[in-house]
């Protein structure tokens, strides 16, 4: 009994460390991928000096960020200022705990599920954590004692609260189809066909709301460089800025995973091994995000609010009603 328990515990710790290390490495190299792709989309090379093809660039950046001075501006409320970046990075990392990234594998006669924890309310957990992530931005912006940071923080809160509603509403049809809040169950429900085929509107609404939720172009008002310096992280330096940055890139991966799980069938797919399928799907979504960034200009604040409240929320509600009607008609 004790042996069984400790074996399970060791397995969990190993799984946690592997996922954590992989996730952090992926986030670091995602920066490289993004800079490279952005460069090529703008007919230039992107980083290509540090190592072959600039492959050492992420490491060089990390070393630079760690060795830089960690400044706290005068008049900042210190504790909140120091803690805020942690909130962003931590919530981003925690979301990955409920995302299944492969079929159960068998190791030494034990079935090991390739998910950190199969929460039966996984989806609510995801939404809750992404809401807590807003605190990091709001508090970081407020605690900096700078007008740019404050404006960035305010915009961040307004934007993320507005877009959380369509984000939540757009996955309701998915829950209705899968009849579960657990991300593992949602993945299993798509063993036949991915939900994007029956829920294309949901997919589009989710993608738009999620891009706004992770504050990327064209919804990057909280960190609008040309108006606000750098937005909520203007006053941050060194690894604290690095944590904001890390959080942003992890949420990019998380978003890719969530779209894969909710709409693209998670790790289900023919021929290729499940984990590879999952990575391919995440990669495609991440590529689309970078592609958006290379193409679209930032939208105005009133446009942001109009799209959120007058287009996405009604569309999501209509979609729920239509899905419900169809499900009802079938039974």
């Amino acid at each position: 009994m004790v042996l069984e328990w400790s074996l399970g515990f060791i397995l969990l710790v190993v799984k946690l460390s592997v996922v954590l290390i992989l996730l952090l490495t992926c986030a670091a190299y995602l920066v490289w991928v993004e800079r490279k792709l952005l460069g090529r989309m703008q007919a230039r090379y992107g980083p290509n000096r540090a190592g072959r093809y600039g492959l050492l660039q992420p490491m060089v950046d990390v070393i630079k960020l760690i060795t830089k001075e960690d400044t706290v501006p005068e008049g900042a409320s210190k504790i909140i200022f120091l803690l805020a970046p942690g909130v962003v990075a931590l919530t981003a990392l925690l979301i990955f705990a409920v995302i299944p990234f492969g079929r159960n594998i068998t190791l030494w006669g034990r079935s090991v599920p390739l998910v950190i924890t199969d929460l039966n309310i996984g989806l609510l957990f995801v939404l809750a954590l992404s809401s807590i992530g807003v605190y990091g931005i709001a508090l970081g912006g407020w605690a900096s004692n700078s007008k740019y940071s404050l404006l960035g923080g305010i915009r961040g809160v307004a934007q993320m609260i507005s877009y959380e509603i369509p984000l939540g509403l757009s996955v309701v049809p998915v829950i209705m189809l899968a009849r579960s809040f657990s991300l593992v169950e949602i993945t299993n429900a798509q063993s036949g066909y991915p939900f994007i085929l029956v829920q294309p509107f949901s997919f589009v609404i989710f993608l738009i709301a999620a891009v706004a939720e992770i504050k990327r172009i064209p919804f990057d008002l909280p960190e609008a460089e040309n108006e606000l310096g750098a937005g909520y992280h203007t006053e941050y330096s060194g690894m604290r800025f690095g944590l904001f940055f890390l959080g942003e890139y992890i949420t990019m991966i998380i978003l890719g995973s969530l779209v894969a799980v909710f709409f693209l069938g998670g790790w289900h797919g023919p021929l290729l091994p499940p984990i590879l399928w999952f990575l391919v799907k995440v990669g495609v979504i991440v590529f689309v995000l970078i592609w958006f960034r290379a193409t679209f200009p930032r939208i105005r604040y009133d446009q942001l609010m109009n799209t959120g409240w007058k287009v996405l929320i009604p569309a999501a509600l209509l979609n729920i009603i239509a899905t419900g009607a169809i499900i009802l008609a079938k039974t």
């Binding site: 792709l37 460069g39 090529r40 989309m41 703008q42 007919a43 230039r44 090379y45 290509n48 592609w291 958006f292 290379a294 193409t295 679209f296």
Partner: protein, 173 residues
């Protein structure tokens, strides 16, 4: 609907450019040939006889907007002036080319060579021996002392590229 079409058009453009060769010229590997008259590091040239052209007239240091040129004039045995020392602080120089324009003897000239960065700022202070080159720069044949600054030997109009004096009386109507 029109907006959606525009968005898709934008996405298509970026995707198309993704597969195009970048237009970047990778500087240290690919060096573009600069125009002959582009302005960078300053040199002091010599006339065709191998003498220093500079006559230490101080016009360049006077015209220099950032006061980066300094020198000390002196006189040779034969009466020709020269600069005992001549110093240009390239940490201050803005490569405006006014010194070249002011120079009456074509001694000071700007070259297209620009790769002079140093980690130690004092290494950017060039002395006369660093500035002097063994050629005439942009005008190899010019020798100031053939045209000016010498005693007249012959009659009026006999000097090099000098016109015959005009007979005022023949100009009468």
């Amino acid at each position: 609907m029109e907006g959606l079409k525009a968005l898709i058009k934008g996405l298509a453009t970026t995707l198309k450019i993704l597969f195009r060769k970048p237009v970047t010229e990778q500087y240290p590997e690919v060096k573009r040939a600069l125009p002959a008259r582009s302005r960078a590091v300053i040199v002091l040239t010599r006339d065709p006889d191998g003498e220093e052209r500079c006559v230490a007239c101080y016009l360049c240091s006077a015209v220099c907007p950032v006061s980066c040129i300094s020198m000390q004039s002196a006189q040779r045995e034969d009466g020709r002036r020269y600069a005992r020392w001549f110093r240009i602080n390239f940490a201050r120089c803005i490569y405006c080319g006014l010194c070249e324009e002011a120079c009456p003897t074509l001694a000071i000239q700007l070259t297209p060579h620009f790769e002079t960065s140093q980690r130690d700022i004092l290494k950017l202070v060039y002395e006369k021996e660093d500035l002097l080159v063994n050629h005439g720069g942009k005008n190899q044949d010019y020798n100031f002392y053939r045209y000016a600054g010498v005693t007249m030997v012959g009659d009026k109009g006999s000097h090099i590229s000098e016109k015959e004096p005009v007979d005022l009386k023949s100009n009468l109507p």
